[in-house]
């Protein structure tokens, strides 16, 4: 049986981690490469890098970062942020990324999922979906949460899967940063509706939140950022806790 995954997420801008970190022994507190290596050594199963500059003129810096990261870690990693062209995907994968996450570009042009998964394989294409609950329904947002679109959450999740996405990274904007737990209710609707892996994001605050998402929503992976950056939770402790409670993890 495939193990449940723990995925630290790093927001980067021009090659540096932007959310602050408490890692005192990093030579450069903002170094995405050093933080990546640290997470790798601590037992992270995978990493996600979100480039929040996301402009094409900065793309070269991102490619360089991907190359540097690939040199030091021996676990898979996903890169996202402003990717809209097949050529961008090709360059990121060739630089050493394993997957790309696509968000705004696939809402505007859903055909991109189809084309990208055909060319690079579904396993390389992650549909990143940002949702906010509004009058009992889940509304999709794009452009880093700044713009609402007329798409219903579950329907869009299904469409990305049907078009060939290999994974869904679902971020609850209501929960993001609140440490009040993942949106287990919506996540379980998604895992029942699609047959591709689902990554829960937004709301991680305690070990129990992870346990709840794995056990009650049957997600395949959980993602968190500040919880790991600020060392509020050690990956090894979290995994041990999950194992003690019947969730299979690596190590």
């Amino acid at each position: 049986m495939v193990a449940k995954r723990i995925i630290p997420c790093l927001d980067v801008k021009e090659g540096k981690v932007v959310k602050g970190t408490n890692f005192v022994n990093l030579r450069d507190a903002g170094s995405a490469v050093e933080l990546a290596e640290r997470y790798y050594l601590e037992g992270a199963d995978e990493l996600v890098f979100l480039d929040i500059t996301a402009s094409s003129d900065k793309r070269k810096i991102l490619i360089e970062l991907v190359k540097e990261v690939a040199k030091v870690i021996r676990i898979p990693f996903t890169v996202g942020g402003g990717i809209s062209e097949l050529n961008d995907i090709d360059n990121l994968l060739k630089a050493g990324a394993d997957k790309v996450s696509l968000n705004t570009s696939i809402v505007i042009n859903p055909e991109l999922i189809t084309k990208a998964s055909r060319q690079f394989g579904s396993q390389a294409i992650v549909a990143a979906i940002d949702v906010k609950k509004n009058d009992g329904r889940y509304q999709i947002f794009i452009k880093g949460g700044r713009e609402a679109v007329q798409l219903e959450g579950l329907a869009w999740c299904k469409e990305t899967a049907e078009r060939g996405a290999g994974e869904i990274l679902l971020t609850s904007m209501d929960r993001d940063g609140t440490k009040s737990g993942f949106d287990v209710e919506f996540l379980s609707q998604i895992t029942k509706a699609v047959s591709i892996p689902v990554i829960a994001s937004g709301g991680a605050g305690t070990k129990d939140h992870f346990l709840e998402a794995f056990k009650n929503a049957d997600v395949d992976a959980c993602l968190a950022a500040s919880l790991f950056h600020y060392q509020e939770l050690e990956i090894s402790d979290l995994k041990q806790y999950l194992q003690e409670n019947g969730v299979q993890t690596r190590k």
Partner: protein
């Protein structure tokens, strides 16, 4: 020297990074001449089967790879290419192993099979020398090779299937050793030093 075949596979850079770490002399190439001069060959693989088979034909490497006598390691799609046929794009592959690659049934488990899974070593193999049985390796694939007489290890994802095959000088692994942490590095080291 190790030759890593360059046919546009997504994981070529990651394989090269491990070879750098192991201080192995290697070349990334798609020239037959370089492959003739290499001691061993790694066929990486992330991509689509029929597209990749076409690439190998265009590079004029298809027949060469079928007939070669030096150790060859196919990774992920590289392992599937060593088989006879793939359901992915109905591709006729290299045919080193008389096996067919099939698509996972999504009723049996999530597709792609993505993440870390335990493998069971079922046959003594140089590749797994010093690697514990039930070690976790990283997988990312939608097609699989059913269990067969060449299997040296297997794994369960809805069904039990083959995750490494061996015959004479040919080796294939379904997982990504270049993304499987320490055990993966060990496996690549074993291929370089023992096979």
């Amino acid at each position: 020297m190790i030759a890593v075949i360059d046919y546009g596979a997504g994981n070529t850079a990651s394989v090269a990074n491990v070879l750098d770490e192991l201080k192995t002399d290697y070349i990334i190439t798609n020239k037959e001449n370089d492959l003739c001069n290499a001691q061993k060959i790694i066929l990486p693989g992330v991509g689509e089967a029929s597209f990749t088979v076409k690439r190998l034909h265009l590079l004029n490497l298809f027949s060469f790879l079928r007939l070669i006598h030096k150790p060859v390691l196919g990774i992920c799609l590289g392992m599937q290419l060593l088989c006879e046929h793939s359901e992915e794009g109905n591709a006729s592959c290299l045919g080193v192993f008389d096996l067919s690659t099939k698509k996972f049934d999504k009723l049996m488990g999530k597709v792609p099979h993505m993440g870390w899974n335990k493998i069971e070593i079922i046959k003594e193999s140089k590749l797994f020398s010093g690697i514990m049985d039930k070690s976790y390796f990283y997988f990312a694939h939608s097609y699989y090779v059913p269990n067969n007489k060449y299997s040296s290890s297997q794994c369960e994802h809805g069904i039990v299937f083959s995750v490494s095959i061996e015959r004479d000088n040919f080796y294939g692994v379904q997982f990504h050793p270049e993304k499987s942490g320490e055990v993966g590095i060990k496996l690549l080291k074993n291929f370089i030093e023992l096979c």
